[in-house]
Symmetry: C2
Subunit: 352 residues, 2 copies
DNA sequence: CTGAAAGCGCTTACAG
DNA sequence: CTGAAAGCGCTTACAG
């Protein structure tokens, strides 16, 4: 009387294949040192049993710690936007730490390309198994991603993507559709004869991202035969004084401005200007649920904030790497975040 | 030469307290059979080391399977709304199954209070450690929750709450604020001289939920001194014919209807009517991102859908129970879901 | 009231 | 190319 089926997992596989569990383990992890014959036999049994490894046991027994490198901008005095992804990253970290995953975070200065280089070098020296990156400096980030590829380290991008560079996944907004939604929101208060200011406040020149937003924005008006003039303004200097000056000029040049769209989180600068000048009748839509913006959302200066769940992006980024690295799960090439609409009325329960 | 600090976890605690790990385990889980003196000593060491148990090891060693009971409405031919929470529940289930958690789902018929009784009885017989419930039938659910309390089984409510009944947590919308947002959205297309139809289509009489939504809805108009007439219509029969008849009547009685608000996912019935009659100039706002509604959102008949992430509610509900039961984490008394605004433009990336 | 020992399902040297 | 054995950090009978 044989005892059958009393085993499960690797033990059962070993029993059926008449080998030791060490050999089963070798096959399970594609390690060398197993004859083709036994390998085949074991693989058949694995398939037959539809074997799913017990991750608990696996992580517990394995002393190996897997480390994930994160490379994102530091919070600056200008904006606390990057607080949110970091929060998500920390949350993910605390959930997977118990499984032996370490997260090493490297923060670079958004106004300093060198710091990006430095931090990315440091990251690589840490010897991580996977990388999460916000590729703010496209060229530099591209070079870095290529280096990772060479080292066979998977890379996931959040917030914006790396065109023409192969990465494991992109987690962030669908920019042109986001611009399209922005245009839609802007029209709620817009008279047909009014002009629109499309403002891009950023020290970066000609960013790929803003161009995609603008495409979507303009296509909304085209699709709906709305012929409002769209005046585009580019501002390299992000401080309030520079912005004020530019706005003053714009309002002098263009008399019939009915609404303003800002392509990023710096919309609060514009809101501040409008409030100071008492320009309450102008629609204003911009990006991101940051403290500075929410104040103006609450007092009605900003009509809508569009938001792409930055915290969630950080969380998902880390978790996707974890799943890919530890569980071997495949990851979607592109995960587009929802295009959230935040107003005065629903902001209290908004989840970043 | 003693080897120090070579141990960690329970072993280290045991070493320092000069007891066996079995005794440490007893203290860790508040089991009986430990003298006050050693108990105190061990607890001090636990605090000193800031000991965090390894859940991996704990769940692996423990043969105990923890089971969670779920009691929600079945998907009916009328609406597939409850598909979403179920999806979230299944997702949570698949994530925690590997830790030895079982989820038993019991579905009741929304048109049949008896089926609720039957399913809740069945659930209790299964001997679950925690319960997730959608308390559609308030009285019956209340009785059930009280029974759970007696049995010391924690209960979490999703979608709607159980007033006056003590539960571990509520995960769902802040209803009055949601109504407030709905009113806001309705006014984008509303002329000051037009009337509003506030429609409640539900076989249930005078539901607590709809009253909260109406409160919020009306307070928006009060807050903004908008004096539009709000005509409330209650429909017990949910089929298209009954609804059509009621609408026909309403439009005959009230000539100046400018917008319609529907308090739940049955807004598609109204949309169908408006479309058939060619009433394109009437604003329409309702609830829930279900297939039937999205069609009308896409073709412009419905202006906005408000949504409270039903899938996420199911997911969070199960995960909260898991955290409470397995990890002993405390759970927030009320977790209000975001009040999402879904339009034609952003629906493609909406996450339920 | 307390402890020694087996075991959860894996991984990892080590030996052959 | 393969296996025996120890061990990951806990829990659980069982014995005293």
């Amino acid at each position: 009387m044989e005892n059958e089926n009393t085993y499960s997992g690797v033990k059962e596989i070993a029993r059926r294949a008449k080998v030791s569990i060490a050999t089963v383990d070798r096959v399970l992890h594609n390690r060398t040192g197993v004859s083709e014959k036994t390998k085949k036999r074991i693989n058949e049994i694995i398939k037959e049993l539809n074997y799913q490894p017990n991750i608990l046991a696996s992580r517990l027994a394995s002393k190996k710690v897997i480390s994930i490198g994160v490379l994102i901008p530091a919070v600056s005095e200008e904006t606390d936007f990057w607080e949110a992804p970091l929060r998500g990253i920390r949350r993910a970290e605390s959930e997977i730490r118990q499984y032996g995953i370490q997260v090493h975070t490297f923060l670079f200065d958004l106004n300093n390309k060198r710091s990006f280089q430095e931090q990315s070098d440091l990251l690589l020296k840490t010897g991580v198994s996977g990388v999460l990156i916000a590729p703010s400096f496209i060229e530099e980030a591209s070079t870095f991603a290529q280096e990772c590829k060479r080292l066979k380290i998977p890379v996931i991008c959040i917030d914006s993507n790396l065109p023409d560079t192969e990465t494991l996944s992109y987690i962030g907004p669908h920019l042109s559709q986001s611009g399209y939604v922005g245009a839609r929101l802007l029209t709620y208060r817009l008279q047909p004869d009014r002009k629109i200011l499309f403002i891009n406040i950023s020290p970066e020149k000609e960013s790929y991202n803003y161009i995609r937003i603008e495409e979507g924005f303009r296509s909304y008006f085209k699709d709906h035969n709305q012929l409002n003039d769209i005046v585009r303004i580019d501002l390299r200097d992000t401080d309030f004084l520079s912005v004020s000056k530019a706005l003053l000029e714009a309002f002098q040049t263009h008399s019939e401005i009915g609404a303003i769209f800002v392509t990023n989180s710096r919309v609060f600068t514009i809101a501040k200007y409008l409030q100071e000048k008492g320009l309450t009748d102008i629609g204003l839509v911009g990006y991101d649920f940051i403290k500075e913006n929410v104040v103006f959302l609450q007092n009605g200066t900003i009509d809508f904030l569009i938001c792409h769940k930055p915290e969630d992006q950080g969380y998902r980024g880390v978790m996707s790497l974890y799943q890919n690295l530890v569980l071997g799960t495949s990851v979607e090439k592109a995960y587009f975040m929802p295009i959230d609409i935040v107003t005065k009325e629903n902001e209290a329960f908004y989840q970043n």
